[in-house]
């Protein structure tokens, strides 16, 4: 009864529905994309769904992350997602991993599933997803959003191209901002996540033409869609296959500790990239960083006051020469600071040197 409307379609039928019930899909990230994709996959009867995400539900997620309700604020995303999906369809097995997807856990988790869906929100994790899927020979479905525009593709499917074949140059964190920094129309990840679910179902059923070697680019404002074709780049595929996962993670500088040099930071400020700054110097130290989003908190006070540091944007930590800021980042990492931490290399000494020469 539950799957009647699937079984009625000749391309699916009882056999197709059984394939869905036998399928194992891993959703990396339970954010805007994940919330949409997961509900359709669960409703469709995809038998085993894994969800990995270390985040807690924040009020600002509710504008687009439609698995969660106001009462869920502060709860672990994967736990609430599992509860909702099991209520929607009790036939399912839902495995949850209340942790971030890292070089350490990636391979052991990915090998347990047939298809991976990338619903992450930063480049470092996206390159990690690519590289682990290439190593483990798993297809993965890419989705990404920017304000009113979205991208969807199927990577690493039957020797098809990978994420690195499309975007070979590693993207530096901060170079292109994410939703937190830039904003996104709430309905957009719903649409893109639904496309990802549709592509996953097509791969399981082996019907139609998957978006392998094709990047779908949607624009909600203009109601236009482009399908851009691209081909495998064997050099990039080999790179992903051979590189250690910790390297692929840090290559795109994904993980949490990143350095930025003074020139790069200047360009972020000039481009009005939305970031927060934490100055861990003592109050008498100069020059001060001139920016509207600076919070000053000397290193020694961090253990008592760190909960006051805003985490709504990536945080650039600065000091005089880049040493104390590094220590501050190491401390904030132990406290599981929930956003990117970036160290200003060379500190304000280096930054003020270029500030006065440009």
């Amino acid at each position: 009864m539950r799957y009647d409307r699937h079984i009625t379609i000749p391309e699916i039928g009882i056999q197709g529905q059984q394939k869905l019930l036998d399928a194992r899909i891993l959703m990396i990230g339970a954010g805007g994309l994940g919330c949409a994709a997961l509900q359709y996959l669960a409703a469709a009867g995809v038998g085993t769904i894994g969800i990995i995400d270390g985040d807690l539900i924040d009020e600002s997620n509710l504008q687009r992350q439609i698995l969660y309700a106001t009462d869920d604020i502060g709860k672990q995303k994967v736990d609430v997602a599992k509860e909702r999906l099991c209520a929607l369809n009790p036939d399912l097995t839902v495995d949850v991993y209340a942790e971030y997807f890292t070089a350490e856990n990636a391979q052991s988790i990915v090998t347990q599933y047939d298809i991976v869906i990338d619903g992450t929100d930063n480049f470092s994790t996206r390159y990690l997803v690519n590289d682990v899927c290439v190593k483990c020979y798993k297809p993965f479905i890419y989705g990404a959003v920017h304000k009113f525009q979205g991208q969807v593709s199927v990577f690493n499917f039957e020797n098809g191209p990978t994420y690195r074949c499309l975007f070979p140059q590693p993207v530096q964190q901060g170079q292109i901002p994410n939703c937190t920094d830039l904003g996104v129309l709430g309905v957009l990840p719903g649409i893109i996540g639904s496309f990802q679910a549709a592509e996953a179902i097509k791969l399981i059923l082996r019907i139609g033409q998957p978006l392998s070697g094709k990047l779908k680019v949607l624009d909600l404002l203009t109601n236009t869609e482009q399908i851009i074709e691209f081909t495998p780049n064997q050099e990039e595929v080999m790179k992903a296959r051979e590189m250690s996962l910790s390297k692929s993670n840090s290559d795109a500088n994904c993980s949490t500790v990143k350095g930025v040099n003074a020139n790069e930071m200047m360009s972020w400020i000039e481009n009005r990239i939305e970031i927060n700054f934490l100055d861990v110097r003592e109050p008498h130290e100069t020059p001060k960083l001139q920016h509207s989003n600076v919070i000053c908190m000397p290193l020694g006070q961090l253990p008592n006051l760190h909960s006051q540091i805003p985490s709504n944007r990536s945080l650039v930590v600065v000091c005089q020469h880049g040493i104390r800021s590094q220590q501050a980042i190491e401390f904030l990492l132990t406290q599981k600071f929930p956003n990117n931490l970036i160290n200003l290399e060379g500190g304000m000494a280096a930054f003020s040197a270029i500030e006065f020469t440009t």
């Binding site: 990404a144 525009q149 979205g150 499309l166």
Partner: protein, 78 residues
């Protein structure tokens, strides 16, 4: 050589348009990268791919009159 160029994501914001008619000063995709990066220096700060007639091409591709280009950055958001 007259080209139709579409800009996506952050690139459209840097250029201030989602589409432009561009007279190419050079012959190749590589030349056009230089031309656009000179005109819009912020392009140098990001990674992007160029598609010609809906296909990602190499920087060595030589233009034909009327080619339609798309400048595509990766998106991070999820």
């Amino acid at each position: 050589m007259k080209l139709k160029v579409k800009y996506f994501g952050l690139i459209a914001e840097f250029v201030g348009a989602s589409e432009q008619s561009v007279i190419a000063k050079g012959l190749s995709v590589q030349d056009l990268r230089h031309q656009l990066e000179t005109e819009y220096p912020k392009l140098k700060t990001i990674t992007y791919q160029i598609a010609v007639n809906q296909k990602i091409t190499s920087d060595q591709y030589l233009f034909n009159d009327g080619d339609e280009l798309a400048l595509l950055p990766p998106f991070a958001g999820g």
